[in-house]
């Protein structure tokens, strides 16, 4: 019984946390969402490398600064991350270009 209560509490906590997160996202919409509301044929293609870098990388880990690696190293890393993190070719190129231009 105690275990069931604990588990239910855990699930309830998770749902509450998710609600809070989504609520904060709605209250504070990210720039990607604001841009995506515009009537554009391919909003993904319109996102800048910086936006894509910030949103995609942070979903899994802290963002590493552009000067953490050389341009050649970023090429390899972005290839690796394209495979691992389900990036499209356009996203890979945009992020790599942004990182290299900031390097």
């Amino acid at each position: 019984m105690l275990r069931n209560i604990r588990r239910q509490f855990g699930v309830a906590w998770a749902l509450a946390a998710l609600g809070t997160m989504v609520g904060s996202a709605v209250a504070d919409p990210p720039p990607e969402r604001a841009k995506s509301s515009r009537a554009e044929p391919d909003p993904e293609a319109q996102k800048s490398g910086e936006e894509l870098w910030s949103a995609n990388c942070r979903l899994c880990h802290n963002i590493r600064p552009a000067n953490a690696y050389s341009d050649a190293q970023w090429d390899v890393i972005m290839h690796h991350m394209r495979v691992r993190a389900f990036l499209t070719g356009q996203e890979q190129r945009a992020i790599a270009d942004f990182l290299k231009s900031s390097n």
């Binding site: 588990r7 997160m21 949103a55 953490a68 290839h79």
Partner: protein, 435 residues
Amino acid sequence: MRGIRSCYLIIASLLLTLSQPATYGETQTDGYVSRKEYDELKQQMLALKKEVETLKKEKGQSTSPPAVASTAPAADFDKQPAAPIEEQKSSGLGTTKFLITGDGETTFEAQNHNTSTFTAAFNPVFLWEINPRLLFEAEVSFELSKDGTDVGLEYAQLSYLLNDYITLGAGEFLTPSNVWMERFHPSWINKLPDHPLAVHDGILPEKSVGAQIRGAFPIGPTKLNLALYVSNGPKLITDDPGAAGMLRFENSVDNNDNKAVGGRIGFMPFSEFEVGYGFEVAKPGDQGTPFANVHSVLQSVDVNFTHDSDLLRGVIDLHAQYAWTRVGHAVYDPDGSLGFGPLSFSNKRDGGYAQIAYRPTKVDFELARKFEFVFRWDHLNQAPQAPGALDEERWTVGVDYWLGPSTALKAAYEWDQPHGQPNTNALLLQAVTGF
């Protein structure tokens, strides 16, 4: 025209230069040049003029007719370095397309009813971009154990970018159906010193040997990502009295001709939020045994959300994953010869975790921006009939101090209550760096 002007300027400068000593000399005398000095200067000027004419002719010969030729080599010059670079890329020579990354960690664990201990691990990742479409990636793990150092191959995969959306891969890879392993398990990404139950060393596969196809597909402002793989799959444990009915996922050399099929579909309604569903089906029993037709079905759902919020003055991060697994009905040790049978059951297990983290990156106090606060609940529920299986539930609070984007000091306290056993609460400390 500019060349002629330059020549005249050079001549004028030379004349002025040459005339200065004479003038200086005349200044020293009476201010005039003698006829002899005048003739000498005139000769010098004529000689210079002749020399300039000769130079102009030589220059004209080298530039005018081959004017086209001079641009042609320039154009070739631009192209020439490109060819070797492309060759270098395609052959994989050189060092610019090879990178060693990875992470290292040291952990201290003090757990109730166990001796406290330090451990260390080093996990280099080798990335080799053979050409812009082909990547080889491999990770080797070195971990301290009671017997010394354990060395393992975490993954070794060759992947090929078919087009902008689809990638093919083959080798040993982190299992896509278990998102924790594929994305969040490296110690510099994991925000707590240990790993959640069920999804790590638990009821889902961590790495698989086989082939996969995966891709990402933008759909308007949203994105769909898919991975589908075929692999050796797990092996059913049948003769271990403490683990009969469980699956062993380290099945590097397959135990039967059946191949597991699995995958994951993820949907991102916006770029900081993703929900996913993963699955794997297989026949894990040894070929030619009564267990050959036993089926296993593994399923998992996950939610991932990260947001840099002005409202909350920091980054909020939420990850949750829950898995259900089922191994079909089987009778283990049917004649009792192994000493624990006959044991008849269908092994159903479930478990997962939910984790929330907050880092106040937008507060004024600089020191506070380096701290991250983490809270996790994780749980594993075993089949009651399974031998040696204990349900377990943990609550963990932790705080990380980030020295850099991938270097942190972590501290956590974990309330751990295996069912029917004394608690194994633990203090965990860890220093970790990703490089």
